[in-house]
Symmetry: C2
Subunit: 132 residues, 2 copies
């Protein structure tokens, strides 16, 4: 698979794929005789893992760390676990924060739903957002 195909399979731009390689979240791929990057099918899974990890708030550096630990397959279990546990509690904290935000947002949405639209048009104070 060439970079363009990997890009369209995953929705990640070729530029970004090269950038990921440079920063270490993707391994250096093989090359065709013409110099084009050649990817194995499992690159799709790896790239999707990267995007999901990003969506979960991990930085590229952190993702690279996790994947390099796996790729090296060295005696890093202890560090790996400490790292993973630290991230797990980060993620849990982020979830808690987001749930607080969700609560606030739905209160605001509810409030805006219940308002008489007529009140909105005559320069009354918009009541949807509570005093902060």
């Amino acid at each position: 698979m060439r970079i363009g195909e990997l890009a369209s399979e995953t929705g990640v731009a070729p530029k970004t794929i090269r950038f990921y390689e440079e920063t270490g979240v993707l391994p250096v791929p093989q090359r065709d005789t013409n110099g084009y990057r050649k990817y194995a099918p499992d690159s799709i899974d790896r790239l999707e893992f990267v995007r999901q990890a990003q969506a979960a708030g991990l930085t590229l550096k952190e993702i690279a760390t996790i994947l390099e630990m796996r790729d090296r397959g060295e005696a890093t279990c202890h560090h790996t676990r400490a790292f993973l546990e630290a991230h797990l509690s980060d993620v849990e904290e982020q979830i808690a924060e987001l749930e607080r935000m969700r609560g606030r947002l739905s209160v605001m949405v509810e409030r805006s739903r219940d308002l008489d639209p007529a009140e909105c048009t005559d320069r009354n104070r918009c009541q949807a957002i509570p005093a902060v």
Copy 2:
């Protein structure tokens, strides 16, 4: 209250507070006769809202938009609501993503917990992180 006190009350650096003012997430404060910024006590709440909103993944621009809608108190209920609803579903999507990540992370942590530590020290493949 001067900027230093607001900073120590909230844990946000004075530099950052000025920066927030510049970008519109904090209103332009009054000034003392000597030119120092003068903050009302409710600035603490506002600043804390900003930090919580940030922790929930909103950008400063988005936070500014929400707070400006409230500050202007104009006929923006409809837009406000659309905006809030869009954000609510963003936040819900982020929560879902984080929960997927939490699942993956705890599987990895569990796996690393169950491993025989002896296996980690002799260059065996670290099994904590599943193939990606």
